[in-house]
């Protein structure tokens, strides 16, 4: 089965530093997402991205966050100035468009565990 790939698997950074989390979505998918999960808590939506622009974002996704699809394969999440509360597992996901024949489902990567010290 095709996979969403995320790198790195773990990232440790100092508060105030910038981090870039990288994802390679499934090749024929057109919709891309970032979610995060703080330890012991729910999976939270951050942002969705389609056709080189943000489709929807949550209140968590403030000016410190940005997403980019720099080339035909990568999808990145940048946090400009990390805070302690940004420590979480960040999941990238991708999907193809639902049609009458295609069930809409998200394929998630294994995540990047971000630790802000």
């Amino acid at each position: 089965e095709p996979e969403v790939t995320q790198t790195p698997s773990h990232q440790v950074t100092q508060m105030g530093q910038e981090v870039i989390l990288r994802c390679v979505p499934i090749s024929n998918h057109l919709y891309f997402y970032w979610y995060r999960q703080i330890l012991g808590q729910k999976v939270e939506f951050l942002v969705s991205f389609y056709n080189n622009e943000i489709s929807e974002k949550s209140e968590i996704f403030d000016d410190q966050f940005s997403v980019e699809r720099p080339d035909g394969s990568n999808f990145t999440l940048k946090i400009r100035s990390t805070k302690l509360e940004d420590s979480a597992m960040y999941f990238c996901a991708s999907s193809e468009a639902p049609t009458d024949m295609v069930v809409e489902k998200l394929f998630f990567g294994s995540g990047t565990q971000l630790s802000v010290l």
Binding site: S48, F49, E56, E104, F108, G109, G111
Partner: protein, 112 residues
């Protein structure tokens, strides 16, 4: 968005059938019901999706009564590797960038 309510946890034994019921009393006409599975330190994984009646795939069955105010995920003959958190989601199926809202899920523990 329709709110979902599901048990916080369930225990089972290997070889048993596990049924997890999710309540979604204010489900809308254009909402679909989707279940995801999440193992520790991994991203959620799609299990099954339905709109009404019964849907079955190689992993599970999904039973949806006529009023659609609840749904039941059925996992036949579970094994230890089915220990995971199972999420019930109710969302409209839109064309692009559909935001999925995850609740707390049901933590299923399969014992030997």
């Amino acid at each position: 968005l329709a709110k979902t309510t599901q048990p916080i946890s369930m225990d089972s034994y290997e070889g048993q059938e596990v049924n997890i019921t999710c309540s979604h009393n204010n489900i809308a006409t254009n909402d679909y019901i989707t279940w995801y599975q999440q193992f520790p330190s991994q991203g959620p994984r799609f299990i099954i999706q339905g709109y009404k009646t019964k849907v079955t795939n190689e992993v599970a069955s999904l039973f949806i009564p006529a009023d659609r105010k609840s749904s039941t995920l059925s996992l036949p003959r579970v094994s230890l590797s089915d220990t995971a958190v199972y999420y019930c989601l109710v969302d409209p199926r839109k064309a692009a960038g559909n935001k999925l809202t995850f609740g707390g899920g049901t933590r299923v523990l399969v014992k030997p």
